[in-house]
């Protein structure tokens, strides 16, 4: 009996994607589309598991109670678009050829893109260890991507959409401007060229990491204790990053899964507990607008940075 996730992806591939590609005359993509099917299946499971765990937590120990949680529904839409593969498919189509061309160019010039396993041969055949090594490096890279997205003026204009949510819940993890998501894809594409990121070799572990990222946004009074907070990022720790005083250039707690980078680079703040969230400098549409209104407002804010100084809380 095979892996149930894989078999579900196989079923999706055989009964939906392949007939669709055949009908559309795009059969040359049938091989790579399996990766997307896997991504979609694991993404749907991520959403289901996160929902099953985080919703009871939010009901049990909420930080805030809102009379009207309408703004949360847009975040649900962001999550579905991002995790069941619509956005990854878009970025794949956009970047695949560019990445292959760049990869080919480098190889032609005698530089075969390295992998961690080639640098550290003992990792080959030790999948969990390999994954942990990649996860640590990628988490560090994400820390710097995130920190730069606060520091660089035009980037913050896009990223502020993520911070605009005043009703932050576990759904808020994927609330991003599409341009911000594209920059992330590019960022990790470059890193993949440097260390080789295993795309779907460890989907279960990726599922766990994405779950932790969602959990860190939960509207729940959950702390991992003094030691636990220094090992893994908790809802309490990450909420400080989304606090009203932390929106903008001088924020804190930028990490996604591990708090180590914040501790190492002096941006950790363990003192703030369960603060109110949001970005006072952003326009209302970023917080409570529809998906399209939020995207449009983010784009205008982004464009405005090239015309003049953007209002930013420091």
């Amino acid at each position: 009996m095979g892996d149930p996730f894989d078999l579900a992806a196989g079923w999706l591939q055989e009964h939906l994607l392949i007939p669709l590609l055949y009908w559309a005359g795009l059969m040359e993509w049938e091989d790579v589309s399996y990766g997307w099917a896997l991504f979609a299946v694991y993404g749907a499971c991520q959403v289901a598991i996160t929902f099953a765990v985080c919703l009871p937590l939010e009901r049990w120990r909420p930080v805030e109670r809102w009379p009207d949680a309408q703004a949360v529904w847009v975040d649900v839409l962001y999550t579905v678009i991002s995790r069941v593969g619509i956005l990854p498919l878009f970025t794949f189509v956009l970047f695949y050829r560019a990445q292959v061309a760049l990869n080919g160019f480098l190889t032609d010039h005698g530089w075969v893109p390295p992998t961690l396993e080639r640098l550290l041969p003992f990792l080959l055949g030790a999948p969990v260890l390999t994954f942990v090594a990649y996860a640590i490096i990628l988490d560090c890279a994400d820390y710097w991507r995130h920190r730069l997205s606060h520091m660089v003026r035009w980037w913050w204009a896009l990223h502020s959409l993520h911070h605009a949510q005043r009703q932050m819940t576990f759904w808020s993890d994927d609330r991003n401007h599409v341009l911000d998501d594209l920059i992330s894809a590019l960022w990790f594409g470059v890193i993949a060229l440097a260390i080789g990121v295993p795309p779907l070799q460890f989907p279960l572990l990726v599922l766990v990491l994405r779950f932790l990222e969602s959990l860190s946004h939960a509207n729940a009074r959950v702390s991992f204790g003094w030691l636990g907070e220094r090992l893994l990022i908790s809802p309490r720790f990450h909420r400080a990053h989304h606090g009203l005083l932390a929106a903008g250039q001088r924020s804190c707690n930028y990490g996604a899964v591990l708090p180590w980078w914040d501790m190492l680079f002096g941006t950790a703040d363990f003192s703030r507990a369960y603060v109110a969230t949001g970005d006072p400098s952003g326009e209302e549409a970023l917080a409570t607008g529809s998906y399209l209104r939020q995207q449009w407002a983010g784009l205008r804010r982004f464009a405005a940075t090239f015309a003049g100084p953007v209002r930013r809380r420091t």
Partner: protein, 322 residues
Amino acid sequence: MRLHRAVLYLLPLLALGAKLAAASGLAFVVNSGGASISLIDMSSEKEMHRIPVLREPHHVALTPDGKSLLVGDTVGNEMLFLDPSTGAVQKRMPVADPYQLGFSPNGRFLVVNGLARNQVDVYDAASMQLLKRFPIASMPSHLDYAPDSSRVFVSLQGTDSMVAIDLTKMAVLWKEKVGKTPAGVLWHDGKVLVADMGTDYVAVVDPADGHVINRIHTGKGAHNLFVSPDRKIIWVNNRVGGTTTSLDATTLTPIRTYTIPGGPDDIAFAPDGRLWITRRFAEKVAVLDPKTGDYQTIDVGRSPHGLFLNPKGSAEPSVAVR
């Protein structure tokens, strides 16, 4: 009493002997999505071990001297050399995007298609030195040679064309339209057969100029094709239809169509007359009895693709335990 005790002592050895005797034949199944190669005991039809691979292995080729089985890891940019008798890793070599690969009949060339990078690399098989790179758009996927090793024919999956390369002059002979999404290639009886994944037929192509002489309808998404060891039957896997079609090798007329769901892809022929077929979306290999149409299944890794059977091989003891 002593005899009884002696038998007791000997039992484990007898059991071990029986196990070793049964473990005849080694199958290699390349799990493209699982970054591994499954080693299967052909007698028990059970997976014994998985060899870890960097990223995304696809196809295999046996060296002309039979001493190494090459496995191309496309995303890992690596070629693995395995002992075809035991599965032991002999060496790993950096190679750019090795997708489909094959040695020329005279053993002089190794052609490696880089599907993602739009390149066809011709290597000197003995030294593994790159002789020439042909940048050819787009998605060069499958290949086969003329019997005299003078030409190699490569399907261009991203286009509607196939390309013929002259290996003596190291130059492109022609590039012609042969179908919607050309995939599997097979030299047969002075012609080149090309499976068209975008439609439901196998195109019969004139190797001299690339024009299509005939089209043989097999099934939706005709993907790959193989000739039986006795050269009497050509087997075609139809990816979209989930079927395998047998063609009379002389007349190219369909004989029978078998239902093999789960994305049938590569085929290898076992000495007992059965066909081993990888099923890409089912994490399984089907072992088809062509007489009855029944098939057994063997569990393997994610997205099984290339496969190789060595009826004389057996996994070395050090890797035989999972």
